[in-house]
Amino acid sequence: MTTTTPRTPGPASGAAPAWRRVLAQTGFETRAVLRNGEQLLVTIVLPVMVLLGLTRTSVVEIDTGGWDRIDFVTPGVLALACVSTAFTSQAIATAFDRRNGVLRLLATTPLGRGGLLAGKLLGVLAVEVVQVVVVGAVALALGWQPAAGGILAAVGVGLLGTACFTALALLLAGTLRAEGVLALANLVLVLLVVGGGLLVPPGQLPGPLEHVATFLPSGALGEAMRGALLGTGVPALALVVLAAWTALLAWAAARFFRWQ
């Protein structure tokens, strides 16, 4: 008869500690985004251009309600940055990783599916830190004066928005073809920017769009971010809408995501 290699049994024999695996995946995911030209375009260049376009030109009319234009616009741009990374960039990256078998291969290493997911989420947050630094620096240079008391609330809103849009990203990436996700993720970003209440408050959108955007996660994220950073307080309705979307999308992603 044959014998197998004698090894100390146990769940983690041979694996690196879980925190190290997740950290390694986080670094890998973050570098992948920051190295990829198209991803940088969507996550860094686009928000900065929107910020400059809305503050230094008058191409788009926004009623700032008496606030300084830079103070009114910057929270919306940060919300856009959050969506571009958590949703567009993540959806595309995950869809192609899924098509190329990367998700399956990593699932066979000690990282596992849980570690992969954790690494992706932390990778999104790491990219967002870079975005906040870049967008924040540009905004401050343009005279942005955020409400100091609302910064903590803004961080919380950002985390909730990240959870919500990452769930949406995984739902698309885990159910549709990679090419479809590529097209859809960019299209949705454009639609949310134009009419989703991210930059322009839902109340200023024409006709029925006002009511639609109020109940979209994008409108809720934009309103919550503006409330926090303008110092007027985060609207409860926005928080409820965002939390409800997060719960729904997380459930759907967990339910419908296909690894292969």
Binding site: M1, T2, T3, T5, G10, G14, A24, F28, N100, P110
Partner: protein, 350 residues
């Protein structure tokens, strides 16, 4: 000179136990139903359906530690699905799969550090550099192999700084193999490991596979390449239509009745007088008239069946010399694995 890959554990540790029995002593025919509690991989009655169609239909398979086990079969035979069930990537619809005594799906956490996987479609992140991918996979393990040394073994150095997207098929395969073994696994699953490789790469891969085997690793590889199975495998499971239709060592599969394999084959000018050849052989060997049957199944390709031996060979070549016929090829007895495979699975395209 290639450096040896150290066995798992610290230097100087006791090498992994080798099978006490020669792994080549397998049985021919549908794999033995005998329980194999020590087997590294033990699949019994595996069933997997896609859209109501049985892709794997009651497959049995055993792979031992310290042995290379080839799963050989035509495209669509169910090879990949079978190894994916062993890797925990698919849940079986029936039967049981045990890897190192554990269930690949339920005990995935315990198995992942001990099992290395090379997927058929690679599964490499396309945007990262080759060296970075290997280092990243290595970082998932507590005590990975030396990445530089492994890279040297497989010739990854020349493209370590190239992004995966720009690698050739063979380069990707070598990187995938490196990623599969970097964690010092006890069991490695290699799905079509040398597909798309040039001959040099194939031999580098085969050398590494042999070395893994000698260190006590259970290597399971799927292939439809006869020479790969023939050169590498200690045991071959021939799979077709989701079942194992034959298994055993290569010599066993090649000549199930080695004592009775009495065939000479030769290629020469078409239209030779086969009756005269048979008569010449009858006269030269002790079997008497009718002991030899000579046929020409394809023009110019002859099969000479009878009590083959040195005398018969001499008589055949003498007859050819007398008739001024030059044989361009002459083989004695041995079938190739390809002959066996085609006999078992049929010659029609699928």
């Amino acid at each position: 000179m290639p450096t040896s890959i150290a066995p798992s554990g610290a230097d100087g540790a006791t090498p992994p136990a080798r099978p006490a029995e020669d792994p080549r002593s397998g049985s021919v025919g549908p794999s033995s139903g005998a329980a194999a509690p020590g087997a590294a991989v033990h699949v019994r009655g595996l069933v997997k359906r896609y859209d109501g169609r049985d892709v794997v239909a009651g497959l049995d398979l055993v792979a031992d530690a310290g042995a290379v086990t080839a799963v050989l079969g035509p495209n669509g035979a169910g090879k990949t699905t079978t190894v994916e069930c062993c890797e925990g990537l698919r849940s079986p619809d029936g039967g049981s799969v045990r890897v190192l005594g554990l269930d690949p799906v339920a005990d995935a956490r315990a198995l992942r550090p001990r099992v290395g996987v090379m997927l058929q479609d690679g599964g490499l992140p396309t945007g990262a550099r080759a060296g970075e991918v290997l280092r990243h996979v290595a970082s998932m393990y507590a005590d990975p192999r030396d990445v530089g040394e492994l890279g040297e073994r497989l010739g990854l150095g020349s493209f370590a700084r190239t992004t995966v997207r720009r690698l050739s098929g063979g380069q990707r395969q070598r990187l995938s193999l490196a990623a599969a073994v970097v964690g010092r696994p006890e069991v490695v699953f290699l799905d079509e490991p040398s597909a798309g490789m040039d001959p040099q790469s194939r031999h580098a891969v085969w050398d590494l596979v042999r070395e893994l085997r000698d260190e006590g690793t259970a290597v399971v590889l799927t292939t439809h390449l006869m020479d790969e199975a023939e050169d590498l495998a200690d045991r071959v499971h021939v799979v077709d239509h989701g079942r194992v239709i034959a298994s055993g060592s290569v010599p066993e599969l090649l000549s199930p009745d080695a004592q009775d394999d009495r065939t000479l084959r030769f290629d020469a000018a078409a239209g030779l007088d086969v009756a005269a050849v048979a008569a010449a052989l009858d006269a030269a060997t002790p079997g008497g008239p009718g002991a030899w049957v000579v046929t020409e199944p394809q023009p110019g390709s002859y099969v000479v069946a009878g009590p083959a031996g040195p005398r018969a060979l001499a008589a055949l070549t003498a007859w050819l010399a007398d008739h001024d016929v030059l044989a361009s090829r002459l083989t004695v007895g041995r079938r190739t694995l390809e002959d066996v495979f085609l006999d078992l699975t049929g010659r029609h395209l699928r």
